[in-house]
């Protein structure tokens, strides 16, 4: 049994490693094709790993990506495609900013309130798609895309209604959150004053919670069963409609947290410059990490690292930092292909194993007395 597990682990790692190698290769070809310096580019990207400030920035950025990808992964595990993480986190961050900016509470309660509000708003916004799916049969893909657009407009509208005069004339945003509601950064990386978002702790907790929920609980089993085969799940007694709503609530709840590291750790206000599009990054990372809690973490770190290392490219190598976007895109495509290849290979391998076991075991049915 051990031996099998080692082989399995190797196969599991093979796919993403292969994908990254393919992406590096193709990106190199692109660089060559346009006549950009290949070695300087990769050198610059790799150098970021040795720079403490870049490492700290990577960790902060990965915190946000991780939450976003976990939100997407919860849906993926039961075959739901929650494209609406983007709208969910922006609406949630906005409402959380509004609430946290208008109350005064002792520090832990203040932060806790912001977290709870954000999770609830995200969950409620996502539940609209879940309810539409189970009551009217609306595909969650369509409804979450539409809800993203609605969330964008809604937030823009409400931002004008609730704008704070504190910010300058060029930007509008909510009332800044007072000190008791802020989460200080953590000096995790020595050698740099740059701190990591304090809510990296929240991301880790969500990751552990996700792992335990999916792998260890009955609820998680039902979730995976519904994702593996809806018909078999129904026959096994899973109420698939309820699972759809629960999964959307959970996914949306985690999505609601995506904006918080930035909100409570850096900007303290939801303004027009609040980062957007993190929900879509989450989809790519969830794919890359195969919905696995650790896989997603590695994916989020890779993504964040590429982002951070891309910044000095223009200055140091004279290469447009968009080359990193190309590499990310290729990685996602390659990883999808690689996972499918590995999946088939693994299945064939196990079938061969079973066949060997059968022929090695007792008699084959060939020796039937005629």
């Amino acid at each position: 049994m051990r031996r099998v597990d080692v082989g399995r682990l190797g196969l599991t790692l093979a796919a993403p490693v292969l994908a990254v190698l393919v992406a590096v290769g193709l990106t190199t070809l692109v660089l060559l094709a346009v006549g950009d310096p290949v070695s300087t580019t990769w050198g610059t990207i790799l150098d970021a790993g040795a720079d403490p400030r870049s490492v700290a920035l990577t960790l902060s950025s990965a915190t946000t990506y991780y939450l976003s990808a976990v939100a997407v992964a919860i849906g993926f595990r039961m075959g739901l495609f929650n494209i609406g993480v983007d709208g969910q986190y922006r609406l949630a961050a906005f409402v959380a900013a509004l609430v946290a900016g208008s109350v005064s509470l002792p520090a832990p309660l203040h932060v806790g309130l912001a977290i709870v509000v954000a999770a609830l708003v995200g969950a409620m916004w996502a539940s609209i798609a879940g309810l539409l799916k189970v009551t009217r049969g609306v595909s969650e893909v369509i409804s979450t895309i539409m809800l993203n657009a609605i969330a964008t407009s809604l937030v823009a509208f409400l931002l004008r209604e609730f704008r704070s005069p504190v910010l300058g004339a060029n930007n509008i945003g909510t009332e800044p959150i007072p000190a008791s509601g802020r989460v200080p950064g953590l000096p995790l990386v020595p050698g740099t004053p740059e701190r990591v978002y304090g809510l990296v702790v929240l991301a880790v907790a969500v990751g552990i919670g996700y792992a335990v929920l999916v792998d260890r609980t009955r609820f998680g089993f039902d979730l995976r069963a519904a994702g593996g085969s809806q018909s078999a799940a129904v026959a096994s007694g899973v109420d698939v409609r309820r699972m759809v709503v629960s999964a959307m609530l959970l996914s949306g709840g985690v999505a609601g947290l995506v904006g918080l590291p930035e909100l409570l750790g850096a900007s303290y206000t939801y303004s027009q410059t609040f980062p957007a599009g993190l929900g879509f990054t989450g989809i790519a990372i969830a794919l890359l990490g195969r919905n696995h809690p650790v896989g997603i973490a590695l994916g989020a770190l890779l993504w964040a690292y590429l982002d951070v290392s891309a910044n000095p490219l223009q200055i140091l190598a004279g290469v447009s930092s968009e080359i990193v976007e190309i590499m990310k895109g290729i990685t996602v495509l390659a990883v999808v292909v690689a996972y499918e290849v590995v999946r088939r290979h693994r299945l064939a391998r196990e079938q061969r194993q079973v066949a060997r076991e059968l022929t090695a075991g007792a008699r084959t049915p060939e020796q039937v007395p005629a």
Binding site: A235, R352, P369
Partner: protein, 519 residues
């Protein structure tokens, strides 16, 4: 095959010409992971004859036919058509050599006309206009099919649809037709018409390969019969020289596993009662009408019927996957009509589903997770809200051991196992935790003979221990052998109650079509 009991059709039968056989398969072997589907298969089909291939479920008939019409390629062996070696890489390849397949499950577009269905995908042959229509009429006339090109397929009956399927194949130029279980969906008059059609095809020089496990029909219509068992051809016989019983013996081989249950173990404790259950489809059609039956502890109640007459719906209603429009389902004395599937399972209903891939397994999940499936909430799989991994894994090992599931371990995914071993895992799982009632839908379908005998034995033991079983099966010997009482279902109604101790498969078969008088 060390001792081939193949009876060469030595005595030349009337139409026999000196020409090469229309189809000759020699030494065909096809392996799938974990199972050899075909082993050294030899068949010679003379031109202008109806050649039947019979065998039990899982004997390798379907695989062989897939090889012959190009859907699968053999690992070894040769295919010769009209004396020439051919390689069939795809169904298109096969049709270009004149081999066409008529499927058991029709592949017709309901919203298109007969002509459009026939032409669809073969537009290159005679266009889509008058040329095509002329050709369809010509063929219909020549082979006495009586197909009208204009009505919508949606408006046709089953027999007509089958003729359209045959016409489709002829239109594509087939000279050799393979029919897979063509009578499974037909009522007796339609069967007679089909046989008349087959004779007309034969008289025109076409060759028909007819796959079936209905032995009486085979003897009626075939010129020669090849029997398959466990993936090999074991004999080729002439229908005039065998009885249905002899054919059956050839099919199952010398061991003849018999599903006979010995003495009755029926108690008078009520286990499952279905009272006046009526089920309607969303479009208002009645799927089940006023179904009544009761099963006591230690009793097996068999449901017989031609497939598609409401058996699947009945099972799903009892399992709580469908909600009846009227009537009640009682487990013991408790009304469970409104209970969810999970609650019913927790209360002690085990379920062996008809389609193990769709309803019984998570194919990409390891065996031990499949042990949990359907029993997520009960020990040894769960402890409070948690999945008890250790408990589930230990119990999976027990099932693998006790039910002889051939696997290298409990961490391989379910799809790596052969069908028989998957089924044994499901049977073991559903028998765990001492269920009160077992719903067994086609428990031995597509399972090799060894596993079949084993599953029968498990059912018998469980029955002796007081299990109540609702058995749905298309295998009449299985129904008669295992059941304490049999209900016949036709178009969603129970039309007869039979005593298995004095009914033959033939009588049961005719009762299923609505022809037989209730005993």
């Amino acid at each position: 095959m060390s001792e081939p009991s193949t009876v060469e059709p030595g005595a030349p039968v009337p139409t026999s010409e000196a020409a090469a056989p229309a189809v000759e398969l020699a030494g065909i072997t096809k392996r799938f992971p974990g199972v050899v589907a075909n082993r050294d298969v030899d068949i010679r089909v003379r031109g202008g004859t109806v050649h039947a291939v019979v065998g039990e479920n899982g004997a390798g008939k379907s695989t062989l036919m897939k090889i012959l019409y190009g859907a699968q390629r053999p690992d070894e062996g040769t295919i010769r058509i009209a004396g020439r070696d051919v390689e069939l890489r795809s169904p298109a390849d096969a049709i270009s050599h004149g081999v066409g397949m008529v499927f058991q499950h029709f592949m017709l577009a309901d919203n298109l006309s007969v002509l459009e269905n026939v032409v669809l995908g073969a537009e290159g042959r005679h266009g889509i206009g008058d040329g095509a229509r002329r050709r369809v009429l010509e063929l219909s006339q020549a082979y006495g099919l009586g197909v009208d090109p204009d009505p919508l397929v949606a408006d046709l009956g089953v027999g007509d649809r089958q003729r359209v399927e045959i016409l489709k194949v002829l239109y594509r130029g087939a000279r050799i037709l393979i029919l897979d279980e063509p009578t499974a969906v037909l009522v007796p008059q339609e069967v007679a018409e089909l046989f008349a059609n087959l004779r007309a095809l034969k008289d025109q020089g076409l060759t028909v390969i007819f796959i079936s496990h209905k032995l009486d029909e085979v003897i009626t219509v075939a010129d020669e019969i090849t029997v398959m068992r466990r993936g090999s051809t074991v004999a080729t016989v002439l229908p005039a020289e065998v009885t249905a019983r002899q054919l059956a013996e050839l099919m199952v081989g010398s061991e003849l596993p018999s599903p006979q249950t010995r003495e009755s173990t029926v108690t008078d404790v009520m286990a499952l009662r279905v009272e006046g259950v009526t089920l309607r489809a969303t479009d208002g059609r009645t799927l089940l009408a006023d179904i009544d039956f009761a099963i006591r502890r230690g009793e097996v109640l068999g449901i017989a019927g031609v497939e598609g007459n409401g058996q699947a719906e009945l099972v799903e209603t009892v399992m709580g996957m469908r909600t009846p429009a009227a009537g009640r389902v009682l487990l013991g004395e408790q009304d469970v009509t409104r209970w969810s599937t999970r609650r019913r399972r927790e209360a002690g209903i085990g379920y062996i589903p008809e389609d193990r891939h769709r309803h019984g397994l998570l194919l990409e999940a390891p065996l031990w997770e499949n042990r949990v499936l359907g029993h997520q909430t009960t020990p040894p799989n769960a402890r409070g809200p948690w999945i008890n991994r250790a408990g589930a894994r230990a119990d999976t090992r027990r099932i693998v051991e006790r039910y002889d599931v051939r696997t290298p371990g409990i961490d391989v995914v379910a799809s790596a196992l052969s069908g028989g071993n998957q089924q044994k895992l499901i049977v073991g799982r559903e028998m765990s935790g001492e269920p009160l009632v077992l719903i067994a839908a086609h428990p031995t379908r597509g399972v090799d003979v060894g596993a079949q005998a084993a599953i029968w034995e498990y059912l018998r033991q469980a029955r002796a221990d007081g299990l109540a079983v609702l058995l749905v099966s298309a295998d009449l010997d299985e129904l008669i052998g295992l059941s304490d009482t049999i209900r016949v279902i036709l178009r969603g109604r129970v039309i007869a109650a039979l005593d298995p101790s004095d009914v033959s498969p033939e009588q049961l078969g005719s009762a299923m079509t609505g022809a037989g008088a209730p005993a």
